[in-house]
Symmetry: C2
Subunit: 424 residues, 2 copies
């Protein structure tokens, strides 16, 4: 054997996934299912390039994301290229630069891998597979509700039932910070404490910021704004600031449309969910499955992003992490989808022409046919192929004779080829 | 507008493709079609990682290919990583290292992008999309015939008819070189001249090599071994060397099986086609479409590759270039596949809940439904959406009233919602 088997050096860069057939079938099944839901809502697939010039795409990416990106120098002109760490900024760039003249709204979906350096101890993959969609050019709450509805329908179509969508609204927090007149530095400290849901740190920050008790209480209350419908009413009572009220009115409208669709059991409101605050500008959401610590997906409104590439345009969207979906799915359902109608066609006289012809006839009838050219008798064939995941053996013997073997039941039938073909 | 519009600097790294919706639909249609043919032959999809450690994968790649590869340093451990410039060596590595215990033959297929630096003036893409398959662990001519048959079936299923498969057999050339006792240096010079089909250069090389007239004539004859069946017989008459005769016997067998399948019009034999000679070890082929200078795909037998990763294993396979397929397809057929049953559902009373409910009902019936929430009358809707690629408008008016508009014929029907739903 090769030297590699005895080596301690890994054969593959960490976090780089290899999908062997079973996993690849799962992945494809999930991707096709999610994309089919996007398509049924009128979304059109796009395929963005895997590289971008760093100086171009950086306009739409946070420092943190850029830091995680794989960069290298274009040999031709020395410019820095970035292997995409995220797809949404690419779609935003495409919408602003390539589709500026196409009537809005645009409904675009994609299936794409992204690449991020992650700390090794975190055990996070560095090649991630995203399936997502963007609704570009629509400002109203119906757009927020639409992308969340698509996420829910996709999860249900995959077969998942035990999931939650945590809805947030960054504009409520933003409205409160601005309305209460917090300085930019203090806003940042408050934001950090709220993101970590760290109540004592938040109290400390507010205290040091010298905020009056009434204001501090309003901010601290955010950490408790977590639950169902009642959360919106609690928040409504908390402040009369117009920006906060407008944010809540929109959240209420979206929440009600989703409830009316029958999805109440999947919905949670969490007004302290303000991650990605720099990027998002409205309703955001995260998808969680039972017993999985990492979200299955996330998304939200990002009205400022497309404009960074030239044409301002309100937008919302989300992406699933295909591998997380796969894990949730395997936990819930487990089984590999059955491969229908598989036949191993064995030509025992080694007549290649006959093998090809008959295999083709079977494929035209819709069977998946594996061709096999080898001299062997029935007993040998059964020994070798029963239990190898094949459903039926069709053995071509001398002349017009054939044997049909059902690998599951073990039953055998002998007869003329056309007769056995009709029994497949 | 943005500063970029006025800049001469390109927005995208050259050769990096962006697929807007129409092109993405084409690409997906072609990929799905080719993969469906692989699946019907019992091939299973795998997804190899996009990065490999350079020292590992280099075992299975030529210097030339490695030179074209994008390389960078793994931040974690300083090892050099390679963004894959080819998929077959990855599949070979997976077969040898991860699937060594799986009974052979393996039938694996994939759809994957590869990355190569190309000279800019050549206008070649640097991100290429391959769709291919590998048949690993089968030595006989039925394996060679199988992969070529899959290529032909895939091309026909896509709808291409005007294509040729050029069949070569590198073992014939190798047998001749070794049998005639040419020194390694001279073999290389001869090879280079034959690849370029440069008759005068070949004569010069053979003359300087001091080869006797009879041997030189045998080698020069290769340049004329191009055509149909008769080529095999001409080559047979040229030499009695056993290695050459064995190579021809195999080629004859494969050729006959493909002719018997009815594909004679698509087949050409070219014994001077010996590109990839270092890599291939038997029958090779290239796929050409009319009026396209670049092959649509290529493949062949590579019995030494898998062994470089640990477990020797005879193998053959091929890959299509998805973009070349797409161009050939667009030249031949042109039209975008029709998107069936698309409906723009307009809720003119801005009732979000009703919009979502009715859209869902329609989707459950199989329609692709785009949701739209806006106050407008029929005339306005027709002005805005006729000619926008939408098939039908379904406008929800007050109460139970609705209007159904066929955007192609311009016909309009008014009535109650359930009545109009039944007329969709």
């Amino acid at each position: 054997m090769t030297k590699f088997k005895n080596s301690n050096r890994p054969m593959l860069p960490r976090g780089m996934a290899t999908f062997l057939p079973e996993a690849a079938i799962h992945k494809r099944h999930i991707e096709e299912t999610v994309l089919s839901v996007f398509l049924s809502w009128g979304y059109l697939e796009v395929i963005p390039p895997i590289f971008e010039y760093l100086d171009v795409i950086a306009l739409g990416m946070s420092e943190e994301l850029l830091e995680k990106g794989y960069k290298f120098v274009d040999r031709g002109n020395g410019r820095l290229m970035l292997l995409r760490p995220d797809v949404t900024p690419q779609i935003a760039r495409m919408a602003a630069m390539l589709m500026a003249d196409v009537p809005k709204p645009l409904r675009l979906c994609y299936r794409a891998n992204v690449f991020r350096h992650e700390e090794e101890h975190a055990g996070r993959a560095r090649e991630l597979f995203q399936i997502g969609g963007e609704l570009i050019g629509l400002e109203g709450p119906e757009a927020d509700a639409e992308v969340i509805a698509i996420a829910i329908e996709a999860l249900l179509k995959i077969g998942l039932t035990d999931f939650k969508i945590a809805l947030g609204q960054v504009e409520f927090f933003r409205g409160l910070m601005n309305g209460l007149g917090l300085a930019s530095d203090l806003q940042k400290q408050v934001h950090a404490a709220v993101v970590r849901k760290d109540r004592s740190k938040l109290a400390e920050v507010l205290d040091q910021g010298g905020l009056p008790e009434t204001k501090a209480r309003q901010i601290t209350a955010i950490l408790s704004l977590f639950g169902q419908d009642e959360v919106i009413e609690q928040a409504w009572g908390l402040t009369t600031l117009p920006a906060c009220r407008a944010a809540l009115a929109r959240l209420r409208e979206v929440f009600r449309a989703l409830i009316a669709a029958g999805w109440k059991e999947h919905l949670i409101i969490d007004l302290a969910e303000i991650r990605g605050f720099d990027y998002y500008t409205g309703i955001i959401f995260e998808v969680f499955a039972k017993d999985l610590g990492v979200p299955l997906g996330r998304g939200g409104r990002y009205d400022s992003l497309v404009g960074k590439f030239g044409t301002p345009c309100p937008s919302t969207g989300f992406a699933f992490d295909a591998e997380q979906l796969q894990w949730a799915w395997q936990k819930t359902l487990g089984a590999v989808p059955e491969v229908p109608g598989e036949v191993l066609l064995i030509e025992t006289r080694r007549d290649m022409v006959r093998l090809f012809q008959l295999a083709r006839t079977l494929r035209e009838k819709g069977y998946r046919v594996i061709q096999h050219l080898e001299k062997m008798d029935v007993r040998e064939a059964v020994t070798r192929f029963q239990g190898a995941g094949i459903q039926r053996l069709f053995m071509l013997m001398g002349g017009e004779k054939a044997v049909l073997i059902n690998c599951r039941t073990g039953s055998q039938q002998s007869g003329r080829i056309p007769v056995l073909l009709s029994k497949l």
